[in-house]
Each structure stands twice: as C-alpha cells, then as structure tokens.
C-alpha cells in the first residue's frame, strides 16, 4: 500500500487552508461521472481539491472491497459516482453496483467504520453543476468528520467493551 500520510506540499489556491491533509478517493464511471467531472472542469466550476479521481469503466466494476480497503488503510472519504439508473452505458452495471454499495453501507458501521465517510451518487456527463454540488457537499462532510482515525493502532482511550455473545 502506498503511503497515505498527509501531503507535505500545500495546494496552490485559496482553499488550501481547508483542504490540507484530507484525502478523498473518487471512483468515477468512465461514461457519465468522469464526463460530468470533466464538464465541471471545462465550465470552470470551483471545486474542492481534496478529491483524487480513479476512473473505472463502469460502476459495475466497483468491488465494494475497493471502498473497504481505502477506508481501512486510512483514506478520509470515498465517493463513488456513476450513470443514473437505467442510463448505464452497459445497460445494467449500476443496478448491480447499487445493491453492493447499499450492502456495504449498512455493513461498515457494524465493523466500527463511520458510514458517513462513504457516499455513492449518480451524475451524468452533462451535469457539471450537479458534480460540483456533490463534490463540495461530500468534501465539507469529510472536513466536518476530520481525518480518518484508521485502524493502525488500537486506540488507547477506548476500553474494550465486553459484549456478551451467546
């Protein structure tokens, strides 16, 4: 796994103070959301800079474990975005993805991982404005949550609860 420690070099624009140290991974479908993010860029919509984009062929390619691994290894937030349901380039990829990601979303808090660090959404290639909105909102949410405490060390301030199993 690559080093995920906070960036040392400060970003250039004025949002630097707020974005520093926060890393969000965005998995974007090639056909819609990646296009949408491009549209937002071409239209010069201002966006937070803490999103790193990974382009995937379709949200149907999204293995829930991509999200789990990112969060386990200390990424602060994961955003998945694809074509709107019924608009998938491959017809059905996002239908599969929807079930998987809902299952993961319900599962994460059971293992003690804050489900607010993960969001999935649908953005089409023409929705630059919508993309800006999604990224800004999610980024703000992650900033409110702060850096991901991660799992690397057992946190000393929490005693191990004695949960009585059968």
């Amino acid at each position: 796994m690559k080093d995920l420690s906070p960036r040392s070099s400060a970003p250039a624009d004025e949002t630097a103070a707020t974005t520093q140290g926060i890393k969000i991974v965005g998995f974007l479908c090639n056909w819609c959301s990646y296009g949408g993010a491009d549209t937002a860029g071409v239209c010069r919509f201002k966006q937070p800079t803490d999103l790193r984009v990974v382009r995937i062929p379709c949200t149907g390619r999204m293995d829930p474990l991509f999200i789990a691994k990112s969060l386990i290894y200390g990424v602060d937030g994961v955003l998945v975005s694809g074509c709107h349901p019924r608009d998938c380039h491959y017809a059905v990829g996002n239908f599969y993805a929807r079930r998987r990601m809902e299952a993961l979303k319900a599962f994460l808090p059971f293992m003690g991982i804050d489900t607010q660090r993960f969001r999935y959404t649908w953005v089409s290639a023409s929705e630059g404005q919508q993309w800006q909105k999604v990224v800004t909102e999610f980024s703000e949410q992650i900033h409110r949550l702060g850096p991901n405490p991660g799992l690397k060390q057992r946190s000393g301030d929490h005693s191990i609860p004695s949960i009585a199993l059968r």
């Binding site: 796994m1 293995d63 829930p64 474990l65 789990a68 691994k69 386990i72 290894y73 200390g74 349901p85 019924r86 059905v92 239908f95 599969y96 929807r98 079930r99 998987r100 809902e102 299952a103 993961l104 319900a106 599962f107 808090p109 059971f110 293992m111 003690g112 991982i113 804050d114 991660g150 799992l151 690397k152 060390q153 057992r154 946190s155 929490h158 005693s159 191990i160 609860p161 949960i163 009585a164 199993l165 059968r166």
Partner: protein, 348 residues
C-alpha cells in the same frame, strides 16, 4: 462397537421414562442411518459422514467406500462439522471422475443450506449427491465444555436427553446440553434439512422463528456506539494469525488457489501482520460471502484464536434479509441477490 453418544455412562443413574425414549430415538436414528447407507452404498461412489475420533468430544469426517466401515458412521450433537465442503474442494474428490456414481453425504439442517447454495451456483448438480438428512437439535462446542469444567482426559462423551455426560478419568461431569451448544445453534431456524433424499430420525423444532432471536448477537454489537464497536473488532481481529482456516473450512469459499488474499496478481494483501491487513482479510471473506453465506458457523468453529468470525457474516446475512428479503440456501432455483438486480427497486 460401542458408540460414545449412545453408550451409557457408568455413573449415570435413574434413567427416567422420557430419557429412555429419547435415547431410543438417538440409537434408532443411528441404526436407521446404518441401514439406509448399507442399502444405498452399492449405488454410491462414496459415502461422506461422521465417525468417532480419538477425542470423544469431537467427531471426524469419514469417507466410506466399502460396507465394512459403515458401522463407524455416527450422528448426533457431537457431529458439528459441515461436510459439504468436501464436495467442491480438493482433495477428497480428486480421484472421483465427474461421471461417477453419486456421492452420499450426511447433512444437518445448516449443512443442507450449504448444499442448496452450491447447487444454486452450479458447483454441484442435484443428481450428483444422495443426501442423508439428519434433523439436528444443536451441536456441541467443545470449547464451551472446556470453559465450564476442567478436563484432564475425557474417556467418553455421551448425550442423554438434554445432558452431556463426560467420563473424565474417573470423574463424571453432567452438563446441560443447552449450555454447551455452538453459538450458531442457539438462533437456528432450520434444524431440519431443507433438501434431502432420505430423512433420518424425527424432525427437530426450530429454536428461532424470528430475526431478533436469530441475530441476537448482531444486535448486541449494534447497541454499542461506533467507537466501541471498532474497539471490539480491533481487539478481536488483533488475535487473527491469518491462518486462513476460516476460509478453508467455508464450503462456499470456492476460489481456491485464485483466492485474492493470497494471489500476487492482483495483490490485495501483504504479509504484514497489522490490524489493517487483518481487517481487510475478514472484509474480503465477508463481502465475498454476502448474500451467499448460509451461517453454518464453520469459520468460527475452526478458528484457532476463537474469534467470532461468523458474526461478521451474520451481520451481512441480516442486511440481506432486511434489505432484500433473501435468506441464502433455501431455494435451489433462486439467484443470490448480489449476483442479480432489480431495476425497479428504488428504496435501497
């Protein structure tokens, strides 16, 4: 040959009428099993069942090809292993050609659900197996026995009515069966095989009919705040030595040498022994079983570090039942929910 769980312990006294009937039922089901297997064996390539082992508290799998070994077959609360994994994993069937005669197998309620799941995913065809269904009243967890009484050298373990009676080098321990049953058995909804060719003995009463009883342990964890849940899993999974026993024992972990926790390409996991690696390993196991796990509890039974690993899958099973109304391993014609979709669903 004397059989542990029906053999009468010397120190046991005053057998009541009910106990005698109960014992007779157990003994009869064992004899019935022997008789049925004897009749069926000529048409079978092999019979897979349980036999007594050197440890009276545990049984061992047995692969029967000739009639002489049939008398070793046993059934009852000490037969905790799920044998269905042998049907899809090497090496048990390596020498059996695909067009050979069917294979006979003994299954409890939970094991039969694994069979259904394997049939659903076409790892097995129904006509390849002859299923000897055995209604189950719960299986004994030997670790719970060891936690209750100090054991030195158990000579025999017998089940009579609702009691487990141990002869431990002269001392007799009488333990309520209820207190030493495996965790998964206490919320069991399907004690009777859901699929079978023949049924041995009388059908059992389910211990649970609702989600709250079945998923009681899941709910106990969910009551804790998020940080406490993380602390709980960190302390539990910290013990994991990544021996992969849970994966190897799981009848539905079918990737075998392609398993991504071991492959170099793609390389999901390193050999590092940190908590993130352990978490990710258990996430991989759980997510690959989402919507497929039948809750047979094998992963937890074989864990040498006593981590409640089945609990992780139980949570996913609960999600599948609540979100998609699907319980795995009940209908051979159903498709596991994460392998299909429904365009109309908007609520999830």
């Amino acid at each position: 040959m004397a059989v542990g769980w029906v053999k009468r312990s010397a120190a046991h006294h005053a057998v009541s009428e009910i106990e005698r009937v109960e014992k007779a039922v157990l003994e009869t089901s064992r004899m019935q099993l022997h008789k049925l297997v004897e009749e069926a064996l000529p048409e079978l390539e092999m019979m897979i069942g349980w036999a007594e082992s050197s440890d009276p508290l545990q049984t061992t799998p047995i692969f029967i090809r000739d009639a002489k070994s049939i008398s070793k077959l046993t059934c009852g609360p000490l037969c905790s292993q799920n044998l269905t994994g042998y049907l899809v994993k090497p090496p048990a069937l390596d020498s059996v050609p695909k067009d050979a005669k069917p294979i006979g197998i003994c299954v409890k309620g939970c094991d039969s659900r694994s069979l259904v799941a394997l049939i659903q995913e076409k790892f097995l065809t129904r006509d390849r197996v002859r299923i000897f269904g055995i209604p189950c009243r719960g299986t004994v967890d030997w670790r719970k026995v060891e936690k209750r009484v100090q054991l030195l050298n158990v000579k025999s373990a017998t089940v009579e009515d609702d009691w487990l009676i141990l002869d431990d080098s002269g001392t007799t321990h009488k333990i309520a069966l209820e207190e030493v049953l495996s965790r998964k058995c206490l919320g069991c909804r399907y004690p009777n095989p859901v699929i079978h060719d023949v049924l041995i003995g009388q059908s059992a009463t389910p211990r649970s009919t609702d989600l709250a009883t079945t998923y009681r342990d899941v709910d106990a964890i969910e009551k804790e705040p998020l940080e406490q849940r993380l602390a709980f899993w960190q302390s539990e999974l910290d013990r994991c030595i990544r021996c992969y026993a849970c994966r190897n024992a799981c009848p539905l972990c079918v990737c075998q040498d392609k398993c991504i926790v071991e492959t170099r390409e793609p390389r999901w996991l390193t050999q590092r022994a940190g908590i993130p690696e352990k978490f990710l390993f258990h996430f991989i196991h759980a997510m690959h079983l989402a919507g497929r796990c039948t809750g047979c509890g094998e992963c937890e039974r074989v864990c040498p570090m006593e981590i409640p690993v089945t609990l992780i899958k139980e949570k996913l099973n609960k999600i599948m039942e609540e979100m998609l109304g699907y319980a795995a391993g009940l209908d051979p014609d159903a498709v596991p929910p994460l392998l299909t979709f429904n365009p109309g669903e908007t609520e999830i």
